[in-house]
């Protein structure tokens, strides 16, 4: 029985991976550019697993002396933990990373400075600006605190989830995770939104669509120079691709 453990683990994981791909939820875990590769290899693993079940058994196990008791217990414990983890991937619904992780990973701490993007943004027309996501705004806010830059550039329908600002209760971050490879490397990005008393209206982690103007930050306890003052805030469904790629 022992030698079939891994086969069941790999077959179950491959089946779950293929289901995630079919239901469009593989992007909760990995960057879309790896989906084709992942699906191909999962299919191969599944085919090999079934072929291995169909192939006549090899009885060389009988010649092997049984491993020492300690090793056997360790192997059993490892297999049991692995089985539990695989079971959770089968019964627990797939989920995106939470606002707690966004906070813990320090919003905007590792966003890249991209001078070319700032340059392009300064000459962008209104329709381009209207398509800016949390990623573009966070990058621009990181690089400039010149109010004149934002004069004719309103934020329109920017979608993200609510993460509290550790410095002030009047502000929250409209945030998204940027993913370069897989959820492990998700970097939280955020646009500070000025909305005193927001915590009475929205839960942490709820998804919003926000439009508004950028203004000089009136909150004394906050070190941020510029914040978004919303003209409209709507609660929305979590997007099917919650991460920015």
């Amino acid at each position: 029985m022992q030698r079939w453990r891994g086969l069941w683990l790999i077959a179950a994981l491959s089946a779950v991976t293929l289901w995630l791909a079919a239901s469009g939820q593989l992007v909760l875990y990995i960057h879309p550019r790896y989906i084709v590769f992942t699906v191909i290899m999962a299919s191969i693993a599944l085919a090999l697993s079934l072929a291995a079940l169909a192939s006549p058994r090899q009885h060389d196990d009988e010649h092997e002396p049984p491993p020492p008791r300690r090793d056997r217990m360790l192997g059993l414990a490892a297999a049991a933990i692995a089985a539990v983890v695989v079971l959770t991937t089968i019964v627990i619904p797939p989920a995106t990373l939470s606002a707690a992780t966004a906070e813990q990973r320090d919003i905007n701490s590792s966003a890249g400075d991209d001078p070319a993007a700032l340059e392009a943004a300064s000459s962008a027309d209104a329709s381009t600006v209207a398509r800016f996501t949390v990623r573009e705004w966070a990058s621009i806010l990181r690089q400039t605190s010149d109010l004149a830059f934002f004069a004719d550039k309103p934020a329109s329908d920017v979608v993200g989830f609510v993460t509290p600002d550790p410095e002030s209760d009047d502000l929250f971050y409209l945030s998204r995770f940027a993913v370069t490879c897989c959820a492990v490397d998700a970097q939280p990005l955020g646009v500070p939104v000025l909305l005193p008393g927001w915590s009475g209206q929205f839960d942490e982690g709820s998804w919003l669509s926000v439009s508004g103007e950028f203004i000089s930050n009136p909150v004394a306890t906050s070190t941020l120079p510029i914040v978004l003052e919303p003209t409209s805030v709507e609660q929305v469904e979590q997007p099917s691709e919650p991460y920015l790629f």
Binding site: I10, L28, I30, G75, I81, I92, T101
Partner: protein, 363 residues
């Protein structure tokens, strides 16, 4: 099912196929039906599992605390990201062990030990698998008669000196700050120094984990005369079963620990150390150890940090990460002993530190 006997296969169980086949046939047929039933049962079970998955996804509200849910998401993400590479690694390992004549691999190697190790450290150029896939390959090489230190040279160098890694690192960094060059030369140097150090070991077999050494010994001294003759396809499937049983629990536990540490340790603790020449290198080495992502893609991960961290620390991340991290230690433990892994981790960490500090001084 006809397998021509091959003269250049030194240890294969299918060598004397021809003589035995006739008297094996009737029981073999009957057994065949049982195994087809097994496969059908397996397929049904997996289908049932996918149905359960689809139903629970729509109807179950897990309501787990954030930290637990994120732990699951992160661990699953590491597993899903690594799984295709593990499958590729097992497939290449099967290719090396069952389908490629032994003489091919050994003929191209120089006799001189330094030359041998140097050539082995370039194997990754035509076996482009990231580090988790290299574990089954390295195991295959040991079974194919490579020495234990040579398998380590391959394991350490291949994920770095590998076309996919070189392309992605170049895409991320270009030739800026010598990061690409330092990564490649550093990986090559560390692999060869490590191989040389371990080649001084009086009893290299003791570097292996007990179970793996035992299974290699069994491979060597039986197989010619026991059991039914196995075709190459059957041998390949046997290897797939064996490697997946050993690697999958290790991968999943490695992913779980890596996920747990990421949930527990605030990222800002590491980021705040970015501009110090020494601490930035140490912080990045720690990050590489914890984050456990594959060498083929880690350049994209680390790119956003390049604005806050010194180049030497980025190089240390890119050199240490592919060789030693939580997931890799769990995987490597299937093959090498704990003592060996402690020594390997120490040597690689010290060399990466020196490399990182060197780049910081020069850049």
């Amino acid at each position: 099912m006809t397998v021509p006997p091959l003269s250049d296969r030194a240890s294969g169980v299918g060598l004397d196929d021809g003589q035995h086949r006739h008297d094996e046939r009737p029981p073999f047929r009957r057994a065949r039906g049982v195994h087809v039933a097994w496969a059908l049962g397996g397929a049904l079970l997996l289908t049932a599992l996918v149905i359960v998955r689809a139903v629970t996804a729509d109807n179950l509200e897990a309501g787990l605390p954030d930290a637990l849910q994120d732990l699951l998401t992160l661990s699953t993400s590491v597993v899903i990201e690594s799984l295709p590479f593990i499958v590729l690694g097992i497939a290449l390992s099967i290719l090396v062990q069952v389908w490629i004549p032994e003489s091919w691999l050994l003929r191209i190697l120089p006799r001189n030990p330094w030359g041998r190790r140097a050539v082995i450290s370039l194997f990754g150029m035509f076996l482009p698998v990231c580090e988790c896939g290299n574990v089954p390959l390295a195991r295959g090489l040991v079974r194919r008669g490579f020495t234990v230190p040579e398998s380590m040279v391959f394991l350490v160098a291949a994920p770095i000196l590998n076309p996919v890694t070189i392309i992605t690192t170049h895409q991320a960094f270009g030739f800026d700050d010598g990061i690409l060059v330092a990564r490649l030369l550093g990986g090559f140097a560390i692999a060869n120094i490590l191989g040389w150090l371990f080649s001084k070991h009086p009893d290299p077999t003791s570097l292996l984990s007990g179970r793996f050494a035992e299974s290699c010994r069994l491979d060597d001294d039986h197989g010619h005369d026991h059991g039914q003759p196995r075709s190459r396809w059957q041998q390949s499937l046997d290897l797939f079963v064996r490697e997946s049983s050993i690697l999958l629990p290790a991968l999943i536990i490695g992913a779980l620990v890596a996920g747990a540490i990421q949930v527990a340790v605030p990222r800002e603790v590491l980021v705040s150390l970015g501009s110090d020449p020494l601490f930035s290198v140490l912080a990045m080495m720690l990050l590489a150890f914890v984050i456990s992502i594959c060498a083929n893609v880690d350049s994209f991960f680390i790119l956003p940090f390049a604005s806050t961290f010194l180049p030497g620390s980025i190089v240390a991340f890119l050199v240490l990460g592919p060789i030693v991290d939580i997931k890799m230690l769990a995987l490597m433990r299937t093959t090498y002993s704990t003592t060996t892994l402690v020594q390997l981790t120490t040597i690689v960490a010290l060399l990466s530190l020196v490399l990182g500090l060197g780049v910081n001084l020069l850049a």
